[in-house]
Symmetry: C2
Subunit: 276 residues, 2 copies
């Protein structure tokens, strides 16, 4: 559980200064650039949030292939040119404009920071991957409650016993996010999220955490625990932290990820990723 | 127009020996392995057909990124491991089990053959990309006629004046396939094909060929011409020959593609790529 400290909110996390739901991506990124560190669930409603993972160019093919082979967990929204710190999708600076980052060396977490300029390398390629926060606004609109937003927490995430399909040097387990859903609304949650295949889409698992190797819903591997109330079912979606679990399992020399739940807020509308 | 000879049916193309629509993928691949050379439109109804392009490993990242950046034209269905000649999606031998191949050196077509074992290299990575033939069965079921199947021809394909988003060493124009659709059925054709985003999905252009740089519908850059009858509209879908147009434009040292319209017939059902 060593990496739990990476994502639990700690004393350095501050309250956001204004209504975060109505904020623009540019404003949110400016706050994060100034050092605000906070999970981004519920921020900038209607704007797409993204997972990031940056690897040296010589690992980029394996990572892109890993993403292609595990599309539910790793839906690629954009990839930077080598060394670039922004993309058409993300007008900010990828080194400073997320709330927090995790730095890996040989698969170990060596740092957790709000700015990665000091460890940035010109050979890095950064991947932006879809995030399930994108469909939470649609869930709320459809009347499906989202517990971690209600509680002002980060979403709970778990490493599962399901293996991703490996690619070159990369292998590792599927990571999932969990949302408790009232039994009567599970079908609605499936239907709504199915319409967002580019941001994890439909759940990968409904109910029975043990069947996918999750022993304790109160002890997530990343993020904050949330209670599952009587009459609710734990519903699991593939999670864009999966590449970071692959970094941990496969131990490449260097990688940077976002701190789970502390996402890149992009300039794309959620509706971009809605299919008819 | 030098490459038109690549795809026009010529004297070496033979009639298929049995009902091709009802054939299994394994049976079709066996016939192609024995040397049968024929466009695959209408073959193996319900089974997914794929474009292929094989490049050396050192170009594979650029090609995978090119595909990711141009997903309507280059929907990746599978990628082989380096040097592998089959994948979970395609149980045959990628070097022999397509009806015909095009071999490129420095972007020029240097050979067109039914077997590429003599030029195969151990460093090749083969991409399987979605093909619009996949949704033709659904179009027919919805009552939308498919002219090139009616006429027993290859589909007409055109290089457009639209540029793909480049990636590394690869750039080039979007290639499209064209089907004439009765005006009253254009909306149906859009609706039906929208449900197959992994195999090019909805049209990229409806009507007015000149607007995308197509001067003469009777002179396709690949495949056979088909007539557009009065009351019909030419409808254009992104085409998986696009990577081969990028090879021509970008001139990498070596690449292999399928002969346009002469596809890999996979072991996946079309329904795999149907979204709700």
């Amino acid at each position: 559980m060593a990496e739990r400290s990476v994502v639990e909110r700690d004393a350095t996390e501050r309250e956001a200064p204004e209504d975060v739901s109505a904020m623009t991506p540019a404003r949110a990124r400016a706050l994060f650039r100034q050092g605000l560190r906070v999970p981004t669930a519920g921020w900038c409603a209607g704007w797409t949030q993204a997972n990031i993972v940056a690897v040296p160019r010589d690992l980029a093919y394996d990572l892109l292939l890993f993403a292609q082979r595990n599309p539910k967990a790793c839906p690629v929204l954009d990839v930077t040119d080598v060394g670039a710190v922004s993309t058409p999708l993300f007008g900010g600076d990828l080194r400073t404009d997320l709330p927090a980052y995790v730095v890996y060396r040989d698969g170990e977490v060596v740092d957790e920071v709000t700015d990665v300029r000091s460890v940035w390398r010109p050979d890095l390629v950064t991947f932006l991957l879809g995030c399930s926060f994108t469909f939470e606004d649609a869930l709320l609109t459809a009347g499906v409650p989202v517990r971690h937003i209600e509680l002002g927490r980060n979403v709970p995430m778990f490493r599962t016993s399901l293996d991703c399909r490996p690619a070159g040097a990369l292998h590792g387990p599927l990571v999932v996010s969990m949302r408790p859903v009232p039994a009567s609304l599970v079908a609605t949650a499936v239907r709504v999220t199915s319409r967002y295949p580019a941001v994890h889409g439909a759940p990968v698992h409904v109910g029975d955490p043990a069947a996918i190797g999750i022993r304790d819903l109160d002890a997530p591997d990343y993020g904050d625990p949330v209670p599952v109330e009587p009459g609710e079912v734990p519903v699991f979606w593939a999670c864009g932290v999966t590449p970071q679990a692959a970094v941990r399992a496969s131990r490449p020399p260097f990688a940077i990820g976002h701190a789970p739940g502390h996402m890149a807020i992009t300039d794309a509308r959620d509706s971009t990723y809605l299919v008819p």
